[in-house]
C-alpha cells in the first residue's frame, strides 16, 4: 500500500471526503423527512410498486412477534427466499436461503439453519437488532434473485449488485460489487468484496479494487475483471435516474441487481452512499458532482435526458 497522500493530491484527484459528502451533498440535497423512504426497505418496496419499478417480489412482511410462527409455516412452502430487516443498513441481518435439506434451511453459504434459528433471527430482527435506530423493525421476505449467466463465476455465494450514485437525478458514478470468499459472501467493500468501477457510457470495467488495492482478476475464481461489460446498461442507468423522481433524494445510492429472467431490478436505495465507489473507479466524484451542480436547466429534464447527459458528458470527467 502506498504512503499516505497529502490533501492537495486528493483534491487534484477530485476525491469526495466524508465531511464534504455529509455537509455539502447529503446535508444539502437530502431532506431529512425523505430518509424513511429509503431507510425502510418495506416503504421503498411499496413506493417502487406505486411507480411500477421492477423489484424482487415481496412474499411476506411481518412486524409482530406473534406473526413469526405462521410465517415459518409459509416459508416451508418456499424453496428459496431472502429474509431482510426492513430498517437494516449495510447488508446487516440479511439471510439468503437457497434451498432445503430435510427440515433444515440452507443458507447461501451452505450452512444449515434449523427452524429455531430462523425463528430467532426473525424475532431479533423484529426487536430491532439490526435497525438503524435500534427501534422495532419489520421482516421482509422476498424472492431470490437468479444469477444471470454472465456473472457466473464472478461472485462468491451472492448475486453481484450494481451501485449507481445518482446526484440530482443524474447518474454520476457506478460500480459492480462482487462478493468474495474474503468478504464472506457480503458485498461490502470494506469487508473484502471486490469493487469494479464501471464506465458511465458503456458499463464496462474501468478499474477494480479489493481492500483498497488495485486488482485485475477475481481473487477467488481468477476470471479477468476487465472483460466485464454490463448488458442493458441504458436500462440500468434509467432505472437509477428515475429513483430520484420517485424519492426526491438529491444524493442517492441505488443498488440494482440483474435477474436472469426479469432483467435489472431495484434492490434497495441508500440516502448515505459510501465513498468507496471512488476507489473502485479510480477517480473522484467531485468533478462530476460539480458539473451537475453547475447545471441550471428549466424545465426539468426527464430521466432519459439526464441519462443522456451522464453518458455523453459526465462519463468524460
Amino acid at each position: 500500500m502506498s504512503a499516505w497522500l497529502p490533501p492537495r493530491r486528493l483534491r487534484e484527484l477530485g476525491m469526495l471526503g466524508m465531511n464534504a459528502r455529509n455537509l455539502e451533498y447529503i446535508g444539502r440535497y437530502n431532506r431529512r423527512q425523505l430518509y424513511p423512504l429509503v431507510d425502510n426497505k418495506l416503504k421503498t418496496k411499496l413506493l417502487a410498486r406505486d411507480y411500477d419499478l421492477p423489484v424482487p417480489t415481496l412474499r411476506l412482511a411481518l412486524s409482530q412477534q406473534h406473526a413469526v410462527d405462521p410465517a415459518l409455516d409459509t416459508l416451508d412452502h418456499l424453496d428459496g427466499f431472502a429474509m431482510k430487516p426492513a430498517k437494516g443498513s449495510g447488508g446487516k441481518g440479511i439471510w439468503v436461503i437457497t434451498g432445503r435439506r430435510g427440515d433444515a434451511f440452507l443458507k447461501s453459504s451452505g450452512a444449515e439453519l434449523s427452524r429455531d434459528e430462523l425463528r430467532r433471527h426473525m424475532s431479533n430482527t423484529l426487536a430491532g437488532l439490526y435497525s438503524l435506530g435500534g427501534g422495532t423493525d419489520s421482516v421482509i421476505i422476498e424472492d431470490l434473485i437468479r444469477l444471470a449467466p454472465r456473472f457466473e463465476g464472478l461472485s462468491h455465494e451472492g448475486v453481484p449488485d450494481i451501485r449507481v450514485i445518482v446526484f440530482r437525478g443524474y447518474p454520476v458514478m457506478a460500480m459492480l460489487r462482487l462478493a468474495t470468499h474474503a468478504s464472506d459472501g457480503k458485498a461490502n467493500l470494506h469487508q473484502g468484496a471486490v469493487g469494479v468501477g464501471l464506465t458511465l457510457d458503456e458499463g464496462r470495467c474501468a478499474h477494480a479494487v479489493q481492500m483498497g488495492k488495485r486488482i485485475t482478476h477475481h481473487p477467488d475464481t481468477g476470471l479477468p475483471l476487465d472483460a466485464i461489460a454490463i448488458e442493458a446498461w441504458q436500462e440500468i442507468l434509467e432505472l437509477a435516474a428515475y429513483c430520484y423522481d420517485v424519492t426526491g433524494l438529491g444524493y442517492l445510492g441505488t443498488d440494482i441487481v440483474i435477474d436472469r429472467d426479469r432483467g435489472p431490478m431495484l434492490l434497495e436505495l441508500n440516502a448515505r452512499p459510501g465513498l468507496a465507489i471512488q476507489m473502485a473507479n479510480g477517480r473522484g466524484l467531485l468533478p462530476r458532482l460539480k458539473a451537475v451542480e453547475r447545471l441550471r436547466e428549466r424545465p426539468r429534464p426527464s430521466h432519459q435526458e439526464r441519462v443522456r447527459f451522464s453518458v455523453e458528458t459526465l462519463s468524460r470527467l
Binding site: 502506498s2 486528493l10 476525491m15 471526503g17 466524508m18 412477534q65 425463528r119 426487536a127 469487508q191
Partner: protein, 508 residues
C-alpha cells in the same frame, strides 16, 4: 455560503461572549485563572463572657465593617437562646444579642473570616464623614504643658503636614529614641496612645482612638489593643505609637473605631471580651466564591448550589470538553467509535477511577460480557430480554470482581462499580452485534477507537487547570461550543482518509 457566514458570526459571538464574560468574572471576583493560588485567611472568633442578672439581657458588640488591608468575607454568631441581629448605629456596626430572661454565666460568640491583605483588591474606601473631622480641645496640667509644647514645636519644625507631624511626634515615644519630654508625659500613668492623642489634638491634627487586634496564628484569649488614627485632611491613617504610621496594616486588624464602646452589656456583670484566631491557607477560588455572595456572578455561578450538587456540576461542566475532543477525533482525525458520545462517558468514569485501573477494569468486564453475550445468543431470547439478562450477569461479574479484589487487598477491584451499568451493557451489546455482523476486526477498530478517544478526552479533562477553568469559568464552554460549531463546518479530508484513499495514487 450564507449559512457559512451565519455560523462564522455565531462562532465569533460565542468566542467573544465566553472570553469577555470570563475576563469580567476574573476582574470582578478575582477568581484566579490557574488553580492552586492560595491566600491567607483569618478566622477570628470574638467571645463575650458575662454573668446575667436574672432578667432581660442585651449584649452589643461593635463589629468591623470596613477594615483597611483586610476584607471581611463571612460572619456568623452562635449563642443558644439569644436573638441575634446586626444593627447600624451612627456609622458603628454592632452585633446585638438579646434575651428576655437569662441567669448565670453566659457565653456569646461572633466569628468572622477575613481575607489577607495580599488578596484584597482595594474596595471602595470607607464613606467620607459628612463633617470634616476636627481636633478636640486639649487641657494640659501645669506641669505638662511645657513638655507638650516643646514636643509639638520640635515635631512641627521637622514636618510639613499632618502625616509627617504625627510621625515625628510618635518617634519621640518609641523605644530607643524616647525623649525626656515624652518620658515626662508618660510618667503620669498615661498610655502612649492617650498622650499622643492629646499631643496631636493640641497640634490641631484630628484623631480618634481605635481598637485593634494583633493577628497571630492560633492565639486564644486575645484582647483588643487601643491605637490611634489620625486624619491627614483626606483620610484616616493608623498610628501605632510604638511603630509609627501604618499605611498597610499587616497582622493588625482594626476592629472598632471611635464612637460607642466596643462592648455594652445590659442586664449582666463581669463582662469580658476575648478573641481567638487561626490562620488558614485556602485556594483563592474558594475564597473568591465565599466573598462574592452578593455579586451578579455569584448569582449565576455554580457556587450557589449545595456542595453536593457542585461536585456533580464539576463533572457536568467537563462534558463539553469531552464532546469537543470527540468531534475533533471523528471529524478531523476520522477515528471510528462505537456510539457517538460513549467515549466521553467512559472518560468521565476514568476521571473517578484513574486511567490505568479504569481502563483495565472496563476492558476486562467488557470482554467477560462479550463471552456471556455469546452464550446468551444461543438461548434464543428476545433482544430486550437478552440485554436485560446481560445487565444482570454483568452486575454479578462486577460484584464478584469487587469482592475478590477486596479480599485480595486490591481496592482497585471496587472501581468498576463507578461505571454506569448501562454504559457497560450497551457497549457489550453493541460490540457483540458488531462481532457477529462485521467480524472481530471491526470490533477491534471500533472498540479500540472508542477507548482511544476516551483516553484522549480523559487526558485534558483530568488536568486540574482545565477542571478549575471549566468549573469557575463555565462561560469558557461557550468557546468550546464555538470550536465545535467551527469544526462542524469542516468539509476537508479527515486524516484517516489520507490513508484510506492512498490507493488512488496509482489511479489513471
Amino acid at each position: 455560503m450564507n449559512s457559512r457566514a451565519t455560523v462564522a458570526f455565531i462562532v465569533a459571538v460565542l468566542c467573544l461572549a465566553g472570553l469577555s464574560v470570563a475576563l469580567l468574572r476574573h476582574a470582578q471576583t478575582g477568581i484566579p485563572w490557574l488553580p492552586g493560588e492560595r491566600t491567607t485567611v483569618w478566622l477570628i472568633e470574638a467571645r463575650i463572657d458575662f454573668v446575667a442578672l436574672d432578667g432581660p439581657v442585651t449584649a452589643s458588640l461593635s463589629i468591623p465593617e470596613q477594615v483597611p488591608g483586610y476584607r471581611m468575607v463571612d460572619e456568623q454568631a452562635a449563642s443558644a437562646g439569644y436573638g441575634f441581629s446586626v444593627v447600624q448605629v451612627d456609622n458603628d456596626r454592632r452585633a446585638e444579642w438579646t434575651r428576655r430572661d437569662a441567669s448565670g454565666a453566659q457565653s456569646l460568640y461572633f466569628s468572622a473570616t477575613f481575607l489577607g491583605a495580599d488578596f484584597v483588591t482595594m474596595g471602595p474606601q470607607e464613606e467620607q464623614a459628612d463633617i470634616e473631622p476636627r481636633a478636640e480641645p486639649v487641657f494640659w496640667g501645669d506641669a505638662d504643658i511645657t513638655a507638650a509644647s516643646a514636643l509639638i514645636a520640635e515635631a512641627r519644625g521637622k514636618s510639613s503636614d499632618p502625616r509627617s507631624l504625627a510621625r515625628e511626634l510618635a518617634r519621640g515615644f518609641q523605644d530607643g529614641s524616647q525623649t525626656q519630654n515624652a518620658a515626662l508625659l508618660l510618667a503620669r500613668d498615661e498610655s502612649p496612645v492617650t498622650v499622643l492623642r492629646k499631643l496631636l489634638n493640641d497640634a490641631d491634627v484630628p484623631t480618634r482612638e481605635v481598637q485593634t487586634l494583633r493577628l497571630e496564628d492560633a492565639r486564644r484569649r486575645q484582647s483588643l489593643e487601643p491605637l490611634l488614627e489620625i486624619y491627614d485632611g483626606e483620610e484616616w491613617i493608623l498610628l501605632d505609637p510604638a511603630l509609627g504610621l501604618i499605611d498597610a496594616p499587616e497582622d493588625l486588624l482594626l476592629w472598632h473605631r471611635g464612637g460607642r464602646s466596643v462592648l455594652d452589656v445590659t442586664g449582666g456583670t463581669q463582662s469580658r471580651l476575648s478573641f481567638s484566631m487561626i490562620r488558614q491557607s485556602v485556594s483563592a477560588a474558594q475564597l473568591a466564591t465565599e466573598r462574592d455572595k452578593d455579586s451578579l456572578f455569584a448569582l449565576i455561578g455554580v457556587h450557589r448550589l449545595p456542595i453536593e450538587e457542585q461536585s456533580m456540576f464539576k463533572l457536568l461542566l467537563l462534558l463539553p470538553l469531552g464532546a469537543t475532543v470527540v468531534v475533533f477525533c471523528r471529524v478531523l482525525l476520522g477515528l471510528q467509535t462505537a456510539g457517538t458520545f460513549m467515549p466521553v462517558l467512559i472518560a468521565l468514569v476514568f476521571l473517578q477511577t484513574a486511567l490505568l485501573p479504569g481502563l483495565i477494569a472496563f476492558v476486562s468486564v467488557v470482554i467477560l460480557g462479550l463471552l456471556m453475550r455469546g452464550y446468551l445468543s444461543h438461548l434464543n431470547l428476545l433482544l430486550v430480554a437478552r440485554i436485560a439478562a446481560l445487565i444482570v450477569l454483568v452486575i454479578f461479574v462486577i460484584s464478584v470482581l469487587s469482592i475478590i479484589g477486596y479480599q485480595l487487598g486490591i481496592s482497585t477491584g471496587m472501581i468498576i462499580t463507578f461505571f454506569p451499568m448501562i454504559i457497560i451493557a450497551w457497549t457489550i451489546e453493541r460490540l457483540s452485534i458488531l462481532w457477529e455482523e462485521e467480524g472481530p476486526r471491526d470490533v477491534l477498530i471500533q472498540g479500540g477507537g472508542s477507548m482511544l478517544v476516551a483516553v484522549l478526552a480523559y487526558l485534558p479533562m483530568q488536568s486540574s487547570t482545565v477542571q478549575h477553568l471549566s468549573f469557575n469559568f463555565p462561560e469558557l464552554n461557550l468557546v468550546l461550543l464555538a470550536g465545535i460549531m467551527a469544526m462542524g463546518q469542516y468539509t476537508g479530508y479527515k486524516l484517516s482518509e489520507l490513508g484510506r484513499f492512498s490507493a488512488m495514487d496509482d489511479a489513471p
